[in-house]
Symmetry: C2
Subunit: 219 residues, 2 copies
Amino acid sequence: MVTLSEENYLKAIYHLGKQGSVAVSTNAIAEQMETKASSVTDMIKKLADKNLANYIKYQGVSLTKEGRLAAASVVRKHRLWEVLLVEKLNFSWDEVHEVAEQLEHIKSEKLINELDAFLNYPEEDPHGDPIPDKDGNIKKVEKILLSQVSENQSCICVGVKDSSTDFLKYLDKHHISLGTSIKIISKEKFDESMTIDVNNTLINISKTVSNNIYVKKAS
Amino acid sequence: MVTLSEENYLKAIYHLGKQGSVAVSTNAIAEQMETKASSVTDMIKKLADKNLANYIKYQGVSLTKEGRLAAASVVRKHRLWEVLLVEKLNFSWDEVHEVAEQLEHIKSEKLINELDAFLNYPEEDPHGDPIPDKDGNIKKVEKILLSQVSENQSCICVGVKDSSTDFLKYLDKHHISLGTSIKIISKEKFDESMTIDVNNTLINISKTVSNNIYVKKAS
DNA sequence: ATATATTTTTAGTCTTGTCTAAAAATATAT
DNA sequence: ATATATTTTTAGACAAGACTAAAAATATAT
């Protein structure tokens, strides 16, 4: 049995391990989970004992195949629940995270499969993040940061990097959501801000913002 | 903050307190929760400290107004989730309990209200048990045990007393579910079994069975 | 290469919720 | 009414998960 706390650690390691494919450091996990490094060390040992993680003292952790599947399963549940919340229960995309953090730990194979079917097998959550399938596989989506797009190009918002409430509310205020068409009008060399056209309204966004919006080329 | 474990104790006291309106005994709670009496004593003290229960040593417990509301809220969530599982996610009535036991602890006011609306404000769960409203009020339903109905009378199944998987599967096998019409053909003095007509099929049921089916007079 | 800084681990403590075994209170039976 | 049985509580222990403070290992800087 994987405990709730173990699932949270697995998820953190899973997310941190995605980018660099090396071992994840104790401190990185502690920061991500807002806990202390010593607590992380304790838990890592438990995960290693259960064959969910590979651990060498002072060298960081990585997930075993089994651990990766367990982590992906939690992420799958989290994202499917988010879809339910937004599509059926009138949650906005900035309200779902906290509740999904709880729902992701519900243990029922049937529940999650039925939920998947009920939602019509969605491939992405409300923030544009891919939903792992039962085997933990995720569909890699073609996406680039809005900050990478050149002047005069048009693109479509397909996700966000930062899913914090503040950022999502900012996007709501400027009517940017998944599927929104964005045209880059001009870029400012000085502070790397850019002016973009959203629904025929021109707005100026900072580099921080453009660095946290994923887009794909307009088709 | 009411913890998960506290919620489970509140629920147990709530259910046990429904019938006799006196204080609930430590042992009764221990049996209901499949735990030890000493654990119950420990927890009761915590509930009393939090003003959720009234407790006098050796005299049993009852819930305070606050405790009763907290307990009713857990029951409300449990039963609403059961409705979702059966009506939207293809669960049968014998499969819902275990999952609802987990889901009932999810903390989100908005979630439960939206769920209520999404399900069209149901008044009963899949076993015919009433769903408390936000203030903890439940609609008393007119219902009697099938064992109380006389020969030649007709009635309609409106609930079950025993919600165990085994019993529910038994009912499924004999095509008895909520809303099913039942006519009492004859009663056996000897063992108090009865022969009933369900969808034009005659079946014989034991006193144990007729004592666990709630019905209302056919209208 | 050695000193300093940072990261990670260990050792020991705390809280929550559980348990066993024994003691105390209450209930029951003759 | 007293002895016996049952119920309830207390006392002390344990596991999970987290924390602090100190020690050990690794990384960095001169």
